[in-house]
């Protein structure tokens, strides 16, 4: 299958690996002006407006990259007919703040998506119950040596949005940290789904390719369930679209480092080993499955093989080490819970995939000043073909429930999980008489500060929106 890369927004199929990002949350005051603003973004005329970046290959990296998402309220504000709006999946229609309040009927005492307590929508600075309704999210990316470019393009976007009656609700900046790490110190950006016919393989991966229809709507794509996530939406709007959960996540780096020290002293373990067990990778990116002891391996693990592993034998690697008991990588480790690969879980294997595009915000953590009071975290776009089946499932079930496989009972994801007030549990297998070690008192390490669900339309979809008529029949 050949994808129409010129019709797909670029952030789904590749990470831009830029140094700076600025996310604009905009409100639509007047539909016709907003439609003209969208038309400019896909006009092909760089002089009149910055242009949305498509997935087309480039010879030279552009000076900026720009992507667009629209909330369900944003589509309504643009004039999309109620009959079309009603055909969107309920998760997108209801939005992140409402969905944060929902509970799994089979787990009424659970925490749902984990956006509870001080992560509840009432505390959010974006998309929350006390913040203005977001209609459009524009994500602008530039490189470090072009730092002025961020302000230049921002100024153009601001001028255009003002002319077209858009209000700037908030902006959210992010800046890459040295060596591509996140604030907790781990190297990031290693594991992403390879989408059939779409993304290039920078890292080798034992996991099968994701089906195109797992991420892109419409055309003649097929998802892993044998259908198409377009549903009854018009092809002109939905073809080559995907969905995004835009998240602002505060990270408690001081709390994380203190936890490592506390558990290391209590269990007489290397704090770096505990850090690796919590995530499933050493902080330099080496997966525990390939390097259970850390340090150099023989033969050395190549850069391109940092994602080339599995937790169980599977077709294509039938003699691979079977870590069913989590002796190398804990079953509850962050990357294993959120992507169990071929290990045994309820439901179809490899069925919940997510593309992550995130960048830290805030200055690097200084261990000499652990209580500096500076907020740190990341702004992330989590892209998929169905918010409920992919993004929400991963957060609700794999991160915050404990039935999906054996060995998780009574635990939540150690990094993202909404831990109980008394602290969560984390299980580490050892080769000595202490096996298994059950570590307790795990605090919540990541707080949700914002969340918005967006449709990321194809370029044709943006044009359809820019020209959408006010007639009730828009099909």
């Amino acid at each position: 299958m050949t994808l129409d890369l010129a019709d797909i927004q670029g952030n789904l199929l590749r990470g831009y690996r830029c140094a700076n990002a600025r996310h604009f949350a905009l409100g639509v005051a007047e539909a016709s002006g907003a439609r003209r603003f969208l038309a400019g973004l896909v006009s092909g005329d760089e002089h009149s407006s910055p242009q949305i970046t498509s997935a087309q290959e480039w010879d030279a990296k552009p000076h900026y990259c720009l992507n667009l998402g629209l909330t369900w309220e944003g589509l309504a504000a643009l004039g999309v007919a109620p009959a079309v709006l009603a055909d969107f999946p309920s998760a997108f229609r209801e939005g992140a703040a409402q969905r944060a309040k929902d509970r799994d009927p089979d787990f009424p005492d659970g925490v749902g998506l984990g956006d509870v307590g001080n992560s509840a929508p009432g505390h959010w600075s974006l998309g929350g119950s006390r913040t203005p309704t977001v209609h459009i999210v524009l994500s602008l990316y530039t490189d470090e040596h072009r730092v002025r470019r961020l302000d230049e393009v921002s100024a153009r976007l601001r001028a255009l949005s003002a002319v077209h009656g858009l209000t700037e609700i908030s902006t959210h900046d992010a800046n890459a940290l040295p060596n591509g790490t996140v604030h907790f110190g781990y190297r990031d950006g290693i594991a992403q789904p390879h989408i059939e016919s779409g993304s290039s393989r920078h890292f080798h991966d034992m996991q099968p390719e994701a089906q195109t229809g797992d991420f892109l709507l419409g055309c003649d794509y097929t998802n892993i369930y044998g259908g198409n996530f377009l549903g009854n939406l018009p092809h002109a709007l939905g073809d080559n679209a995907c969905y995004a959960a835009v998240r602002i996540l505060r990270q408690d780096v001081h709390g994380f480092e203190a936890l490592l020290k506390r558990w290391a002293a209590l269990w007489r373990l290397d704090p770096e080993l505990i850090a690796a067990k919590l995530v499933g990778r050493w902080r330099n990116g080496l997966p525990l499955t390939l390097s259970p002891e850390g340090g150099p391996t023989d033969p050395p693990i190549r850069e391109s093989d940092l994602n080339n592993f599995d937790y169980a034998p599977a077709p294509g690697h039938t003699t691979f080490y079977d870590d069913a008991d989590g002796r190398r990588c804990p079953i509850g480790a962050h990357i294993r819970r959120l992507n169990p690969r071929s290990s045994l879980v309820m439901g179809q294997p490899h069925s919940r995939r997510l593309v992550r595009r995130s960048m830290p915000y805030g200055p690097p953590f200084d261990p000499e000043q652990p209580s500096d009071g500076v907020e740190r975290g990341l702004v992330g776009l989590f892209l998929c073909g169905d918010l409920e089946l992919q993004y929400e499932f991963i957060l609700r079930v794999w991160a915050n429930e404990d039935l999906s496989t054996s060995g998780l009972r009574g635990t939540r994801d150690p990094i993202l999980g909404a831990q109980p007030a008394a602290g969560g549990r984390f299980v580490v297998r050892t080769a000595d008489g202490r096996d298994p070690i059950v570590m307790t008192g795990l605090p919540r390490l990541v707080q949700t500060l914002g969340s918005v669900y967006c449709l990321v339309p194809g370029i044709g979809g943006v044009r359809w929106l820019a020209a959408v008529s006010t007639e009730p029949d828009q099909r």
Binding site: P105, D106, Y225, G227, G231, M346, V397
Partner: protein, 179 residues
């Protein structure tokens, strides 16, 4: 009478010959909802899905049973692949007017129903052609409508007992070293 064979392709075959018999009066509404008595045990991880599916005509029950028999191996294989279904059985009413689908599974219905669609959507496309008020077919194309149909036709249960309320399929099979 047409007996449909299961089509495992992405678009299962729609058998146009199966229609409501014109002489058969419509059946009463499916008895979903209503008072429920929750007797499940504390900490129980197992749940029940009990589908009550009235046939378009009781005369078609033999054909439907033949279809189920012919596809039994494929259905069993599909259910086994999900690792969350403890038991499943088809139960025809004595008068042939209703097919009940009785299952016990782990976890949440909403969370895992699409896995069910993925492996059994084609089988249900065939089965639902015999059923009154079936959703638009094929199931995989109209997955959202199918999942709503399943919820609407899940009969309220009056109490569940389990010898091992907090044990999942994976726990059991792991314990038996079958996985």
């Amino acid at each position: 009478m047409i007996v449909a064979g299961l089509n495992r392709g992405p678009n299962a075959k729609i058998v146009r010959g199966i229609d409501t018999h014109p002489d058969v009066p419509p059946l009463p509404p499916v008895p979903t909802g209503g008072p429920s008595l929750n007797l499940s045990l504390e900490g129980q991880v197992q749940n029940a899905l009990n589908l009550f599916l009235p046939l378009k005509s009781p005369a078609q029950m033999p054909a439907l049973l033949a279809l189920l028999s012919a596809s039994a191996n494929e259905v069993h294989e599909a259910l086994a692949s999900l690792h969350y279904v403890h038991f499943a059985r088809f139960l025809p009413s004595p008068d042939g007017s209703v097919l009940m689908v009785i299952t016990t599974y782990d976890g949440g219905l909403d969370s895992y129903i699409m896995d069910f669609v993925g492996v059994l959507g084609d089988a249900f496309t065939e089965i639902l052609q015999y059923i009154v008020g079936a959703p638009p077919l094929p199931v995989k194309r109209y997955a959202r409508e199918f999942t709503q149909f399943i919820k609407d036709h899940n009969v309220s249960q009056t109490g569940v007992w389990s010898a091992y309320p907090d044990v999942t399929v994976i726990d059991i099979l792991r314990g038996a070293r079958r996985l």
